[in-house]
């Protein structure tokens, strides 16, 4: 089955697949990183816009 693909791919299509491959690797790296990100940090980050200026709460300590 794969022979069918590999034999019929011209140079241009290889170019497309290469580009898609780069993106796929990039996407997986981000996905893994997001999976590993601690929830505490994520919550603190998403609260940032809501922290008023006179409030001393920051993410500095996390």
């Amino acid at each position: 089955m794969f022979k069918q693909f590999t034999e019929n791919i011209s140079a241009h299509q290889g170019y497309l697949l290469f580009s898609l491959g780069i993106f796929f690797v990039f996407f997986v790296v981000i996905a893994v990183m997001l999976y590993l990100m601690p929830k505490k940090h994520v919550d603190a980050m998403s609260d940032l816009p809501l922290v008023d200026s006179d409030d001393t709460e920051t993410t500095n300590r996390f």
């Binding site: 241009h12 299509q13 170019y15 497309l16 580009s19 898609l20 780069i22 993106f23 990039f26 996407f27 981000i30 996905a31 990183m33 997001l34 590993l36 990100m37 601690p38 940090h41 994520v42 919550d43 603190a44 980050m45 998403s46 609260d47 940032l48 816009p49 809501l50 200026s53 006179d54 001393t56 920051t58 993410t59 500095n60 300590r61 996390f62």
Partner: protein, 707 residues
């Protein structure tokens, strides 16, 4: 550690806010004037400076760089200070940025109607203004990064990443697409030619949409929407995924503007594939925005600001779904060059950029003036006027796009074009163009009401120019616990973040641009294609000055409906001396790639004097000034020299005798016109434009005859 006291600079936010409102009204009014000219050519006020070809770029530049540009700076200067708990780095830089940007806009307002233009869409401004844009953009960058460096918040919120990516990508796009060879103070030639210029232009053009109209607005959405709804963003993780995938993918999508042209097929396919993939991050962002309102939908009923946000996000969702669909070759073959595209961009511009800007203004102005909004009723009126305005604008334009495209493609049972005269299709859609201006007018009315409402709000309050704030200083870095993931670490390292964003956007740019720019086999040459004669070159520059490419394309796609109508489809080798390329992106009138020798010189003379003499009902403006204005031949030598520098094979020393050839060719045209009882002097501009129009496509015709 003791908390530190400091002040947010609200005055700069207010100034950018006022500029947004004023330029918004001006830019949209110019747009309305341009729209009216498409059914009533006399609305050009019988004046070259207010004719469609010159004011359409003024409209696009004013709404993109003046209205949206000022809105970006307003939103960034407000949110950046608060997210970083620091005043802007330098008040002086803020002022230079503000006034510098306004001066750039004023110079655009002065030069575009005068016909000083590069003709490249959304990059029309000539080289001195390009340099000024670069300098002011750097000022903005220093001010932003200076603020980031002296911040009191260790980690950078996702909005700031979008601002950083905007800064660095716009810098790259602007510089690469503005590499021009100056000829005089307000005239230059692009270093790229033909297909290469087209690719660079649409890599730029599409990413101007991505990184000027989209990423800064997404950043502002991630700050302002949680503030407006008083709840955190739906998913912060999704926003990270959204950010990286969006900037990675967007940069590749440009070639979808060049489908079925002579751009190498692999580049077109690459553009299509990545355009389709763009749905995912775009909708990820939209869904993240809309779901931020989870549990707060009851507020949307009463809060006009949230209404603007919801419709704005919905418009973003529609435009970013439609974009990938339009990039499919089959759909594109119908939509491209038609009013469908105009509808598409206006759903994005009026809905997404416009409505988010209005929401920010309604939210910001009362806060920095410590007062309430003057009238909620007027704001509500604005919301409905804006929404109906978009509908009345977009629906007729979709209708017009389908109608005209299908008419242009229709054949009779005998295999002949059913509407061989392009004008028939134009006349068919005039009622739709009238309705579109009504829609635009309603939208503009809403903006004027907003301006009144906000100025009354400012009057009843008083500006808190320096807003007091307090925050803990940053703890010394060694006391910070080691970060558990590298992205968390990245979130506190702005320079590394910028470099990484730059790398991400350069990957697609290099892979896509470099082969076409460097490998000559991508652009097969054609022996019969010769450089323009001096008179044709001057005529070409008049074509650029009058903005003809705003309505006429110069590239025939390989469809039977086009080869029947216009002639042989275009080849890459035809454009190797075209600095810049003039393919256009819209066919309000017919394609001109094969215009040469289609009509006589007298036809062109009369047509330019009054198009309705030759084509009754035509909506093309009359160019009577070209009949009387003298052609400036003092520039011929400089133009020939510049072209030679760029690789056009004019013989050495030809610049010195070019005007002699120019005179000879002009004399021939004058004699030919005399035979038709038209008396005109050979030094008039009309002679040069006729020479250029008569040259279009002749190289290919000559090739055929020789064969």
């Amino acid at each position: 550690m003791q908390p530190e006291n400091f002040y947010y600079d609200n005055k700069i936010v207010r100034n950018f806010g006022i500029a947004t409102i004023v330029w918004g009204i001006i830019g949209m009014t110019v747009g309305l004037l341009a729209a009216i000219q498409l059914f009533s050519p006399g609305a050009n006020l019988h004046n070259q400076y207010t004719t469609f070809g010159r004011i359409r770029p003024l409209h696009t530049n004013a709404v993109i760089f003046a209205f949206v540009g000022n809105a970006i700076f307003m939103g960034v200067y407000y949110s950046l200070q608060r997210l970083l708990k620091a005043r802007m780095f330098s008040d002086a830089l803020s002022k230079i940025h503000f006034w510098g940007w306004q001066l750039i806009i004023l110079s655009a307002v002065a030069t575009l109607p005068l016909g000083f233009t590069t003709s490249k869409e959304y990059a029309e401004l000539e080289w001195p203004i390009d340099i000024a844009i670069t300098l002011i953009w750097v000022v903005f960058g220093i001010n932003m990064f200076g603020t980031i460096i002296k911040r009191r918040e260790r980690h950078l919120y996702v909005a700031i990443w979008f601002y950083i990516a905007t800064f660095v990508t716009i810098a790259v796009l602007h510089i690469v697409n503005s590499i021009e060879l100056p000829i005089s103070a307000f005239k230059s030639y692009m270093v790229y030619a033909g297909v290469q210029d087209a690719l660079v232009q649409w890599w730029y053009g599409h990413n101007a949409v991505a990184f000027f109209l989209t990423t800064p607005y997404l950043g502002m959405m991630y700050y302002f929407l949680p503030k407006m709804a008083n709840r955190p963003v739906y998913s912060y993780k999704l926003s990270i995924l959204h950010f990286w995938t969006l900037i990675f993918i967007y940069i590749w999508a440009g070639p979808h503007h060049l489908l079925y042209t002579t751009l190498p097929g692999w580049a077109q396919s690459l553009g299509v594939a990545f355009s389709i993939m763009l749905i995912a991050p775009s909708w990820g962002g939209m869904i993240n925005g809309l779901l931020t309102l989870r549990g707060a939908w009851d507020k949307v009923r009463d809060d006009v600001i949230l209404k603007f946000m919801v419709v704005g996000l919905t418009a973003y969702g529609m435009a970013t779904f439609e974009g990938p669909i339009l990039s499919l070759k089959q759909v594109n073959s119908i939509a491209h060059f038609s009013d469908w595209i105009v509808a598409h961009v206006h759903v994005g511009a009026l809905g997404w950029n416009g409505f988010l800007t209005f929401a920010m203004l309604y939210w910001l102005i009362p806060r920095i003036y410590k007062t309430e909004l003057f009238s909620k009723k007027l704001a509500s009126f604005h919301f409905w006027a804006g929404t109906l305005g978009i509908i009345f604008y977009a629906v007729p334009m979709y209708w017009a796009g389908f109608t005209q495209s299908l008419m242009l493609k229709e054949f009779t049972a005998d295999g002949m074009l059913k509407y061989p005269n392009f004008l028939e299709t134009t006349l068919q859609i005039i009622p739709m163009h009238v309705m579109r201006s009504v829609g635009g007018g309603i939208y503009l009315l809403g903006v004027i009401v907003m301006a009144y409402n906000l100025f009354r709000t400012m009057k009843q309050g008083s500006l808190v120019a320096n807003e007091a704030a307090q925050a803990m200083p940053l703890a010394p870095i060694h006391t910070v616990v080691k970060e558990s993931t590298w992205h968390r670490m990245l979130e506190r390292k702005p320079i590394q973040m910028m470099v990484l964003a730059l790398v991400v956007i350069l990957i697609g740019s290099f892979i896509e641009l470099m082969p076409t720019l460097t490998i000559s086999s991508n652009i097969p040459t054609i022996a019969s294609v010769k450089p323009y004669t001096p008179l044709e070159l001057q005529g070409r520059d008049l074509y650029i000055r009058e903005g003809c490419s705003n309505c006429h394309s110069q590239t025939v796609r390989p469809f039977r409906s086009e080869t029947e109508r216009y002639g042989e489809y275009s080849k890459a080798g035809e454009f190797v001396y075209d600095h810049p390329f003039l393919w256009g992106s819209k066919r309000t009138g017919p394609d001109l790639a094969r215009e040469g020798s289609k009509y006589g010189n007298a036809w062109h003379y009369n047509h330019m004097m009054d198009p309705r003499l030759m084509s009754p009902g035509s909506i093309m403006p009359a160019y009577e000034w070209m009949l009387t204005q003298k052609l400036d031949t003092t520039t011929t030598a400089a133009k020939i020299n510049a072209m030679r520098t760029l690789g056009v094979p004019y013989a050495p020393g030809y610049d010195k005798i070019a005007n002699r050839d120019l005179d000879k060719q002009a004399q021939k045209i004058v004699e030919n016109l005399q035979a038709d009882h038209i008396k005109v002097k050979k030094d008039k501009e009309i002679i040069a434009i006729i020479a250029y129009l008569q040259r279009l496509g002749m190289d290919i015709k000559a090739n055929k005859t020789a064969n």
